[in-house]
């Protein structure tokens, strides 16, 4: 598939759109359907598409395995970290009311941040799983 011109051109056109759509789903999840889980999966699909068209090696140069492992842990850390911050601010664990002066604004901020954590972990784990399966077949 490495020399298929149509696929390569289409991939270059589509991948930015997929990433943009993933970001839209991530940050518009409060107002429309979507959120961290869906956005994470769509984001990882962009990279899987890249790996399928341009080969696994170039995909791993774009996003190295080490980075993915850090990102997967970072997402869970962001999520749990928000909980710890709310504890320090005097609330209960994951009680976002205390994040801001106004409880509603605090809730909104908390939801946005933890959805980001979910998105990062989901996309990183999906990519880790895909790269491990695909890399196993290479050798």
């Amino acid at each position: 598939m490495k020399h298929d011109l149509i696929l390569r051109v289409l991939a270059k056109l589509l991948i930015p759109v997929i990433v943009l759509f993933a970001l839209y789903v991530q940050f518009h999840g409060d107002y429309g359907p979507g959120g961290g889980f869906q956005a994470g999966v769509i984001f990882s699909v962009a990279f899987i598409f890249y790996a399928l068209v341009f080969g696994l090696d170039s995909a791993e140069r774009v996003i190295p395995a080490g980075v993915l492992r850090v990102l997967a842990s970072l997402g869970v850390l962001i999520y749990a970290g928000v909980g710890v911050i709310t504890l320090f601010k005097g609330g209960n664990f994951l009680d976002y009311d205390v994040l801001s002066q106004n409880p509603v604004a605090g809730q909104h901020l908390g939801i946005l941040v933890i959805e980001l954590g979910v998105g990062i972990t989901v996309s990183a784990v999906m990519l880790i799983i895909f790269f491990t399966f695909a890399g196993r077949g290479r050798d």
């Binding site: 889980f37 989901v122 799983i129 399966f133």
Partner: protein, 118 residues
């Protein structure tokens, strides 16, 4: 007629669940077993979403002009279950790959035969 329409969703759910269950217990191929397990799982998702549906309702995103919404709680439970489901499926498939590397086969019978010959 109304009775059938009222329960059609649940019957299809049970049918899918039983087909998935049958695939798991009657077929020896491990990939097929995982496909059956996933089918079973999807039928449970359908059951939850069917229970949460309200006729005349709409997607639970609050907007002007809508009064009836379907139940958001099953949606939340199933949304996370789907993503967790794919992660556990990946784990199962990884186990299948390792079994194939260790036994040279993904047919249950052949694996059992090799185990007994030890």
């Amino acid at each position: 007629m109304q009775f059938i329409l009222d329960h059609y969703n649940y019957w299809i759910v049970i049918f899918l669940m039983m087909v998935g269950f049958y695939t798991v217990i009657s077929r020896g191929n491990l990939i097929k077993k995982i496909a059956g397990l996933n089918m079973f799982q999807t039928s449970v998702f359908l059951l939850y979403i069917s229970i949460g549906n309200v006729s005349g309702g709409t997607t639970p995103i609050i907007a002007e002009g809508f009064r009836a919404y379907s139940n958001p709680l099953p949606h939340v439970l199933i949304l996370t279950a789907i993503v967790v489901g794919v992660a556990t499926t990946a784990l199962g498939l990884a186990l299948v790959v390792r079994i194939r590397e260790a036994y040279g086969s993904i047919e249950e019978e052949e694996i059992h035969k090799q185990d007994e010959s030890f």
